[in-house]
């Protein structure tokens, strides 16, 4: 069964704390993504990873970093979280070397920074 998983699903942190969001996929996709979704703004790309240790900034990378040490796992790290990073975060994965950029999404992590 093709699946993207995200942990945790819900997280509450205080401002200044570190945050680790984890994503896994079982489709052997080489490319993975982190997005954030805010009301009325749609999806904004934070980072894209084309394979292990091959990461590129997206549209809004400031305040975030990522880690990809295995093809099936992709982590999003917030060092010293800020209140404006309260959002829903989605991970996705895809094959891109071909015609299809079809992305498969995880269920999301709802992060609240107090």
């Amino acid at each position: 069964d093709m699946k993207v998983t995200q942990m945790p699903r819900y997280l509450i942190k205080r401002m200044g704390e570190n945050v680790l969001l984890e994503c896994g996929q079982d489709m052997s996709h080489e490319t993975m993504y982190w997005y954030r979704q805010d009301p009325g703004l749609g999806l904004q790309l934070i980072y894209i990873s084309y394979d292990v240790d091959s990461n590129s900034e997206g549209d809004i990378p400031k305040g975030y970093r990522v880690s990809r040490k295995k093809r099936e796992h992709f982590s999003l790290i917030l060092d010293s979280a800020k209140t404006n990073q309260t959002s829903v975060y989605f991970c996705a994965s895809s094959f891109v070397w071909g015609l299809s950029y079809e992305q498969y999404f995880g269920p999301g992590t709802r992060l609240t920074v107090l």
């Binding site: 009325g40 749609g42 084309y50 891109v96 079809e102 992305q103 269920p107």
Partner: protein
Amino acid sequence: AQSVTQPDARVTVSEGASLQLRCKYSYFGTPYLFWYVQYPRQGLQLLLKYYPGDPVVQGVNGFEAEFSKSNSSFHLRKASVHWSDWAVYFCAVRTQVVGQLTFGRGTRLQVYA
């Protein structure tokens, strides 16, 4: 640069009525286009995709979309809406950057009895 505009933030229809959700894109060249659906508290799921060819593409759950190059549009349609179609719908276009899609801001569909 490529972009996607969904002009309707919210659409309300009665169950059984027909539906059209609008999407306008901006892209230099031949676009690859997608419609995704997001049910409450879930991630996005692919409804259908357009690769150059037949302008009308069929998706899941009775959805279809029609590509128009002259109008730069990729509108989503359904002949008869069901209450379970209550969701947010996103249109997306493949960008020039490898692997990236640009998403519209979404249209929230509300279905009433």
